[in-house]
Every structure is written in C-alpha cells, then in structure tokens.
Symmetry: C2
Subunit: 327 residues, 2 copies
C-alpha cells in the first residue's frame, strides 16, 4: 500500500500521518510507502519503517500533480488547501490552490490513463452549505455556499463525482464539521473561539467568548477527523453509490454545554478563565453558519462521531496536553 497525503504539514495531516504510521496498515494492507506533501516540506514521521518521501510543492504549479502521482499511490488523501478566511481575502489564491490544485491532481491521475484508478479521499467542508437552513441539514440539502472557500469545495465535490463516474478514479468526499479542540495558538478565524474557550483555560490562559452561550455548533475532534478519513478509504463503490460526497457527523451542542463539559472535567477555576466579550461581527458571521447536520448516510456507512463534548475535551487533554491540565 502506497499512500499519498497532500496537506500533510497541516493539523489534520499530521494527526492522520501519525495514525497511519501507528496502524501500519490501511484496509488490511501493510503501508509500504508514504508520500507526504505540502507547501512546506512535511516532517518525516518517526517510527515508520517503510519508504517515505516528503515533498514541498505548490500543487497547481505545472508538473506537480504528475510528480505526486508518478509512483502510483493506491490511496490519496487530498487535504491540501487554503482555509476559509484566506480564500475570502485572497480571491485568486483561493481559486488557484483550492480549485486548480485539486483539478491538477485529478488530471494527473487521468493522464496516467492505463487503468490506474486510486481511491481519492477529498476533504470538503460544511461550508458548501449556505443559509437559510432547516433545523438540521439533511444529506441531500442543496449546495449554495456563501463563501469563496465553500464555492471551491463544492466545485471540487462535483469534479470528484464526475471523475469517479467516468472511472478515472475512485473518489469519496467528506464534509468535515468544525474541528475542536484545535491545538496550537489562537488564530483570527471567526470560529477560533470554539476551540479557544477549551484550549486556553486548560493551559492556564484567559479565553475570550465573543458570542452568546446559546450559540449552537457541531464539532468533531481531530482524532475523529483522522478516523473518518481512514474509514472512508475502506468503503466500497457499492456502499457509496453515485452520491459520493458525504456530510460527516459530529457532536452538536451549545457554547453553554461546551463550558459545562469543561467544568465537569477541569473544574470551576478553569472555566473562570473564560471572559465574555461580545463581538457583534463574530456573532453575525457564526449565526450564518450551519449549526446541525442530519448525517444519516455517514452514520449508516459506519462513520462514528464522539458521543459527547466531554469526550472531545478528553481527547484534547490526552493527545495535545500529555494528560495534564493547568490547575
């Protein structure tokens, strides 16, 4: 099994790499080779005994797609892309990386053309949906994104489905919910506080809460995201049918419920580090996002979300804090 992973230096890319290395196999086949790429060269994973190649590459640049698939990876996890805020601020860069980069990769697979037909797992996003929403967004809700990022993701979902239908590759697209708890530093993304109000207090720091506590959102841990990607790699074409782009499930809860979960796990002293500082702009942006998904198809196909937000916090403490909380 040879696996190509794009966006390997990103947060989910690193978690997925670690999981693949730890598992040593995918779909029951030993992993013999990893090709890891990103705009900067990803780190070589420790403890992997197969062949590893790390490539710093700008995916839409001429010849890069061909270079990445030259050794015919059996499975391609395509995670590379610029994030939502960046795609909104930098119009051309967003289309170039998120649309043209994906197309370059798919066309490089097509160019081989001698029956080579890898499984391609594409990370899409719930940003493909746009308000107004029903109470819970069903699997067959139409795609009317309200950001350039969501537009690019929806366009790539369509490409992936057409390339799959034509037998060029064997695709599956996963619309990931918001990932929580994101490790690392606070960032300026409007969604940053969903992780911030958990991560910062657990590290002994103050966190700002810009939205009302009644704000509803759907979350999945980085571990769940990696599990989803691995599970998707094992689905058969018969299971997927013609509609290969799937909304992933998550834990839907209010900010108040997030804070209560944090209190149960870490106590009042930790939740006291959350400071309410209403920000109307952030509140308005967040109100326009999808809150809740009725991800029946994914559940029927065996994708397993966390059961509670407590579980999401515990995964963060275990994976990113070495089990330790700042009292």
């Amino acid at each position: 099994m040879h696996i190509l992973l794009t966006g390997a230096a990103g947060m989910i890319g690193r978690k997925l790499t670690a999981r693949l290395v730890k598992n040593g196999e995918l779909n029951g086949q030993p992993i013999e080779r990893l090709t890891l790429t990103d705009i900067v060269a990803p780190e070589k994973p420790a403890g992997f005994f197969g062949k590893v190649e790390t490539i710093a590459a700008d995916m839409p640049a001429p010849g890069i797609g061909q270079k990445l698939v030259a050794h015919r990876p059996d499975t391609i996890f395509h995670l590379a892309g610029v994030v939502s805020a960046e795609a909104e601020l930098e119009f051309e860069k967003g289309y170039r990386v998120n649309l043209d980069g994906t197309r370059a990769l798919l066309d490089a697979v097509r160019a081989i053309g001698d029956g080579y037909r890898p499984r391609v797992i594409y990370t899409s996003s719930c940003a493909v949906f746009g308000a107004p929403f029903p109470l819970a967004i069903p699997d067959e809700f139409h795609l009317t994104p309200l950001t350039s990022y969501g537009t690019q993701k929806a366009m790539c979902e369509l490409l992936l489905a057409d390339y799959t239908r034509r037998g060029i590759l064997d695709g599956v697209g996963l619309r990931l919910p918001a990932i929580c708890v994101r490790p690392g530093k606070p960032n300026k993304a409007a969604s940053g506080f969903f992780s911030g109000i958990i991560r910062e207090p657990l590290a002994g720091k103050e966190a700002l809460l810009p939205v009302p506590e009644a704000t509803l959102h759907t979350h999945a841990s980085p571990r769940a995201a990696a599990s989803y990607l691995i599970h998707a790699a094992g689905l058969t074409r018969e299971q997927l049918g013609a509609r290969i782009n799937l909304t992933m499930p998550g834990v839907c809860c209010t900010v108040a419920e997030q804070i209560e979960a944090l209190r149960r796990i870490a106590g009042d002293a930790v939740t006291a580090r959350i400071r309410r500082e209403p920000d109307e702009l952030v509140a308005r942006i967040v109100a326009g996002w999808p809150h809740r998904f009725d991800a029946r198809r994914a559940l029927a196909l065996g994708f397993r979300p966390e059961k509670t937000f407590d579980e999401i916090i515990r995964i963060h403490i275990e994976e990113d804090l070495g089990g330790k909380i700042a009292a």
Copy 2:
C-alpha cells in the same frame, strides 16, 4: 445599452439576437451596440441600426475573454458551450469550453475592476440534476449531475453565484428545460426525437419514435427560451436574493400527449408519419433524465412558460415553417 452575446451562432443565440433586434430595447433602454461571438463568426443581424461587431472566438483561449468585454457590455448573455453528448465524448474539450471558457469570461470582467459590474445571464441546464428524482424536482433539489456536461454547468452556477456575491458582476443562471421544437436537421442526441416526432412529420418526412408513449418530459419552445433570457436581464438583485440560479418552467407532458397535440393541429395524415421503433439504449438514457420540475421561484419571478404543447407546435409552425404544414 451594449449587449454581448456568446454562442450567438447557435439556435437559441440566433433566436435571441432576432428578438433583441426586433425589440430594439432591453429593460427600457435602447440597444445601441451588439457584440456577437461564437466559435464561428455569427451572421450580422438584418435590420439593426446600431453598432454590431461579430467575432469568431475560442472563449478559453488567452486574451479572448478580455477582448469580448473590452468595450464594457452592460448585459452579457453567455450561451456558448459544447452540448451534452459532445462533453461526454470529449472530456477535455467539455471542461475546456464549458468550464474554462466561462471562467475566462468572468475573470475578464473581474480584471476590469473599476466598478464595472455587468448583468450576466448564464444558460445552465436541467442536466445539473441527477437521478434518483422526486416526482417533481423542487427549486432547492441538490445538484448531483450524472454527466460531465451537467457537472460543468453546476460548477459554473457556483462560480456565477460567488462572483455575484463578491460584487464582481450581477449574475443570474437559468436552467433551461429541453427546447422543443428544435428547427433544422435530425441530430444524434438521445433527446432528438422529442423534436423530431413533431418537426419531421410537419415537413412531410417520417420520424422514428424510440421510447414508449408514456415517456414524460418537460419542454419549452425556442421562443420561450429567448423570452426567459430577456426576462432574466430585467430582474433586480433584490428579487433574486442570494440564490441566483433558477430552474425554468416548461410544459410537462407525455410523448402520447405530444402526438395528440400534433394530431389536433395537423391531422392524422401527419401523425401517421411517426414510426415506432423502440431503442432500449435511448429509452434507458431518457429514463434517467429529470421529467418534471416544480419551478415555483421562476413562476413567482414572472417567467412564463407555454400553457400547452399545442402552443409549442404552433410557435414552430409560425417561426420556422412560415405558417405552412406539409399535408
């Protein structure tokens, strides 16, 4: 008012040009200039006293988009594209013309960038929908096309919506139903018989019917298509809202009802020229198409379909046969 029309040499392009020239105005503004383009140079329309430029152009080729919008058309009717069967047979050509060509045009508008913001009317297609279908496809049915053509149209709908949201242009996409009666010679499109069984008998020729008479389909005349495009040019942004891609209404009827309408208008001798010759492949292809639309938004926005299939036949006799039927 300066109008740019791409795909101007095609059937709908020619009908639309004739209508614009006859009307002499669009949205109450006199038409002073027409720029007509297609892969072959369109004919100069007779009886137009403004400035006309006809351009033979390959839209996705470098510099062509810029050339087409250099004189800042106020309204752009973007009809150019390769048809469904061709896009399916010629993968690269389909994506190049239908996706890259449209993107080149939109990006040329964007490149002007000094507040220029034309109304862009894009001809999409009901091929953006893919089976399984409900009995009638609602406005908000999700886009899961089952052809490369439908994929390209759906991708361009997304682009148009994003460019509109960002204020680069003022777009509206129309998903046209099957156009009937198509004038001209029989073609090899699987849908060709829907027009053929009307057009050929009226011209004194035999027509083959490859599908059961119970086959249901939705039709609009070429005249209705031109009316839809003109009506779309006059809609306001407030009327359209964020969801700018609209399913157009049509006359939904069975093949048996088409034939009965022909009998009412032209008599038994004409309908006797239809020969049943079942073709399982065609029947299977047609069965996978959308049959019926619940096009509420378009109706509420004032798009007016024909009321009966009889009306569609009479328009063909009037526009394409000079009022004469072969007895």
